[in-house]
């Protein structure tokens, strides 16, 4: 099997590659969303702790 065969996928290239592309997008998106929500919560928690220490001091 050469490269053009792999890219063409017979007559099904558009179907096969769009499925792989969409799945890859979902995989990348989920990692990004999870990392972003973790970073946001870390920032919020730090701010909260800072405010608490300022009000208590």
């Amino acid at each position: 099997m050469n490269l053009s065969d792999v890219l063409d996928m017979g007559e099904y290239g558009a179907y096969v590659w769009s499925c792989y592309g969409l799945t890859l997008a979902v995989l990348v998106l989920n990692v990004w969303l999870a990392r972003r929500s973790l970073a946001e919560q870390q920032l919020h928690a730090k701010r909260r702790l800072q405010m608490n220490s300022e009000t208590s001091s």
Partner: protein
């Protein structure tokens, strides 16, 4: 075992453990996905009926099995949270929902693209397709219900009941192709005695399925850590942990 379970249910321990475990799940998942994709796209021979279009199974089937597995994890965690009043279990359930919803979308979209050349239609109100769509609505309903409460404890309890009631849909999705006449093909790999799929086509699929499960574990670790932080107010351990990070 119980001691470990008890220890893991403490938020600081779970937060740190999830951070430590995550890379050990994520990087093997990436490597296995690359191996599975290469096996599925290049090494596996074309199918005698579906030709190269069958290669869609290497992303469609792992997404579909993950969409059901995540719901099962979510419902079990919600049940544990409800019965034993374990906050961490509710945090696990809440972290599962968005990941599960995304993989249900991936399943429906890749299935639709697969259906077009194979069945001649993008969509059919078929038992398997319809029950998978209901699964998406259950995930969305669970998230909407959680979002409608300001009080986390009330959100936990109400959404846990929805997750448990919705769990009835999981076996319906799984066995819909056996119970009813479905356009969707029947199971091919769960027949352990004699899987009706050739070895060179099977190993990339099993590799991909394992990779997706590990990937879910890694993403769940991040989501769970975020969820723990959201719930923990003024806890003294946060000071130490966040100062160190």
């Amino acid at each position: 075992m119980w001691l470990w379970f008890h220890k893991l249910s403490s938020p600081p321990y779970a937060y740190r453990t999830a951070g430590l475990v995550r890379p050990w799940l994520f990087w093997p998942a990436v490597l296995l996905m690359l191996a599975g994709a290469f096996g599925g796209l290049v090494l596996a021979p074309e199918d005698y009926q579906q030709k190269d279009a069958f290669r869609i199974i290497y992303v469609h089937v792992p997404s579909a099995s993950l969409s059901l597995m995540i719901y099962t994890v979510m419902a079990v965690a919600a049940g544990v949270g409800l019965i034993w009043r374990m906050k961490l279990a509710h945090a696990v359930a809440a972290s599962c929902a968005p990941i599960g919803a995304w993989f249900t979308v991936a399943t429906l979209v890749t299935g639709s693209i697969y259906g077009r050349p194979m069945w001649g239609t993008w969509w059919e109100w078929d038992p398997r397709l319809t029950s998978e769509l209901i699964l998406l609505f259950l995930y969305l309903g669970y998230m909407a219900l959680r979002a409608s409460f300001d009080d986390t404890q009330r959100a936990d309890r109400a959404s846990a009941i929805l997750a448990l009631v919705g769990a009835v849909n999981v076996p319906i999705v799984k066995y819909s192709v056996v119970w009813w006449n479905s356009l969707h093909q029947g199971p091919s790999i769960s027949k352990l005695a004699a899987p009706s799929i050739e070895g060179s086509m099977l190993w990339p699929l099993l590799t991909m399925m394992l990779a997706f499960v590990l990937y879910f574990g890694a993403v769940l670790c991040d989501r769970l850590r975020g969820e723990i932080l959201r719930r923990e107010r003024n806890a003294s351990w946060l000071n130490e942990t966040l100062a160190a990070s």
